[in-house]
């Protein structure tokens, strides 16, 4: 009898504990989301209702027009297209170059492999800030200042992707490839038809994070792009817009919402893979 009541009490306290924990967590998460909510709310307000005391969620009208107004000041669709172009090309380069070199490190045997790999890893320690000044001078020599190439190439050869994919390739059993070799398939075919399909999860994670880091990159485009309205990506475009229309907060917020939408959607859609990718590789960054 006593046992039953203590059990019951323990069970009840556990449920209460769990409910409290959930409610508190929801409150914390809601508080955490306030900046995003504030951004969206402000982006839909009329200009004279941005600053009110007390703050209001909604203005006297929902002004979707802010979005088209923001688009009319600066070619935001241009920034978005530029952003996609640069991020897409950069991602393709990173994935191709990293998977090739990762395969050489993981599967092929050649002299000096380990020292070269160590060299690759050492380049990971170099902060971008050390590179920007010489990179800018290099861009001048190449005649690439204010060009798409300058946005794409300099950061497309990171050892990070190579490292990530090499680690993944090493987990793929050798037997799968050996079977193919015995069937007479060459290294190139077994790389293309066996390794790459098996490594799809790792390739996807690398691609998504590379895309996001290109999309969000700010310091380098700020330095190397002169004509932002022609070749600017979203962050520098937003920065320019903020500089010009900084006091029109409702339009600035509409522009911010538009700049966030692509990566936010990407992550919401692919959340499962990304969470798994980060847990195994611990990546993103830059």
């Amino acid at each position: 009898m006593r046992d039953a009541t203590t059990d019951h009490a323990a069970h009840r306290s556990r449920i209460i504990h769990s409910v409290v924990s959930h409610v508190l967590l929801i409150l914390v998460a809601a508080g955490f989301m306030v900046p995003f909510g504030y951004m969206v709310a402000t982006s839909l307000k009329p200009a004279d209702e941005v600053f009110t005391t007390p703050p209001r969620l909604l203005g006297s009208q929902i002004r979707w027009q802010n979005y088209s107004d923001a688009l009319s000041f600066l070619p935001f669709e241009r920034f978005i297209l530029n952003g996609f172009l640069v991020a897409f090309c950069g991602t393709a380069l990173v994935v191709v170059a990293s998977s090739l070199s990762a395969y050489a490190f993981a599967r092929l045997r050649w002299r000096g492999r380990n020292s070269v790999f160590l060299g690759f890893l050492m380049t990971l320690m170099i902060p971008q800030e050390v590179l920007v000044v010489p990179m800018y001078i290099l861009m001048r020599w190449l005649g690439w200042v204010d060009s798409y190439q300058a946005l794409i190439f300099p950061w497309a050869f990171t050892a990070f992707g190579t490292f990530l994919l090499r680690q993944f390739f090493l987990t793929i059993p050798r037997e799968l490839e050996e079977a193919a070799w015995i069937d007479g398939a060459g290294v190139i075919r077994s790389f293309l038809l066996i390794m790459l399909p098996l490594a799809r999860p790792a390739l996807a994670v690398l691609a998504v994070f590379t895309f996001i880091s290109y999309w969000n990159s700010f310091l380098w485009p700020l330095i190397v792009i002169d004509n932002v309205e022609a070749r600017g990506t979203v962050p520098v475009g937003l920065n320019l817009f903020f500089g010009q229309q900084g006091s029109r907060w409702n339009l600035v917020m509409a522009a911010s919402v538009m700049s966030m939408a692509p990566t936010a959607l990407l992550v919401l859609l692919l959340q499962k893979h990304l969470v798994r990718g980060i847990s195994t590789a611990g990546l993103a960054g830059r």
């Binding site: 005391t53 395969y103 092929l108 320690m125 050869f157 050996e178 966030m260």
Partner: protein
């Protein structure tokens, strides 16, 4: 036999190494490896190795953006070390790191523990906290600027709730750095939270249950069982956070531009200003190398300290 096919046939043969491949075949595999690896090698040499070396050289020159360069030896470095602005900038950067890293790590670890498998919808919570990590920093920072602004969200809330004005966070020397840190923590901790969360999920339940049976309370269980087990992840997360926090730029650029005065100017902002507004490439490169050395030292210290608290063998 058509002669020019011979190399092709040779190439075809060397694409098929078997696992029991004899030593003489390794040269061919080596050539194939060279093909596979050359895009990365060429790219890294042109866009990383060469610029790093060049940056060291530029740092020894007076190198204006336009006009003639001249060799000045270590003058850029002595100028930096004697410059009160640069010393302040270094201090600011350290202040940011010292505030940001512990807060961010503790917050992400705490939330990772909280969002345990017993939480319903934990996936959704994890993604929500991760969102600002992947939204453009420029947009994040601009929103926070509106939040901090006089009559912005904080100020107007305080006015209507308590009838007092909030400090002018970004315009007040005493508040600006704290405001930058708070925004950065909000933006960045979701990443480490995911890393820690994965490490926590990998802790075998049998170990914490054994401690529970031994009568260990929840705090004891966390500090003596769970934390040592996830310490490699915490080490990884804190090292990466340490390295990136020394490089803070975008949020400072947009929130305060280093102001008021130079009270929030960080090293990277200084590099940007000297290099691309002041057009003094030599000085900017020297400052970048100072930052690089500082980061290397901090990382080395972090690695030296890991023996005390990181357990790899559990």
């Amino acid at each position: 036999m058509i002669p020019f096919l011979a190399p092709l046939r040779k190439a075809a043969r060397l694409t098929g190494p078997s696992p029991s491949q004899p030593v003489w075949a390794r040269g061919r595999e080596g050539r194939l490896a060279a093909v596979f690896i050359s895009p990365s090698i060429i790219g890294l040499v042109v866009f990383t190795v060469f610029p790093v070396g060049m940056s060291l050289v530029i740092g020894l020159y007076q190198w204006p953006a336009f006009g003639a360069t001249s060799f000045v030896g270590l003058d850029n470095y002595t100028e930096l070390l004697g410059d009160p602005v640069f010393r302040r900038v270094i201090l600011n950067t350290f202040l940011f790191v010292v505030l940001y890293v512990p807060i961010s790590i503790m917050l992400s670890l705490g939330l990772a523990v909280w969002i345990s498998p017993r939480i319903r919808g934990r996936q959704l919570f994890r993604v929500l906290f991760f969102l600002p990590v992947i939204t453009p920093m420029v947009a994040n920072a601009i929103v926070w600027r509106l939040i901090y602004q006089p009559d912005g969200l904080i100020d107007s809330s305080l006015q209507s709730l308590f009838g007092v004005n909030a400090p002018n966070f970004l315009g007040d020397e005493n508040w600006a750095m704290a405001a930058v840190v708070a925004m950065s923590v909000w933006q960045g901790f979701g990443y480490n939270m995911l890393v820690f969360s994965a490490a926590l999920d990998a802790v075998p339940r049998s170990l914490t249950e054994a401690a529970l049976l031994d009568g260990a309370g929840p705090w004891q269980r966390f500090f003596h069982v769970t934390l040592p087990l996830v310490s490699p992840a915490v080490f990884f997360g804190s090292t990466m956070t340490l390295i990136t926090s020394f490089q803070v730029f975008t949020q400072v650029f947009l929130l305060t531009s280093g102001g008021p005065g130079i009270s929030t100017e960080t090293v990277v902002l200084y590099i940007y200003n000297e290099g691309f507004s002041g057009l003094r490439f030599g000085l900017a490169s020297a400052a970048a190398w100072v930052l690089f050395v500082v980061i290397l030292c901090a990382t080395a210290l972090q690695f030296a300290g890991q023996r005390r608290w990181v357990h790899y063998d559990a």
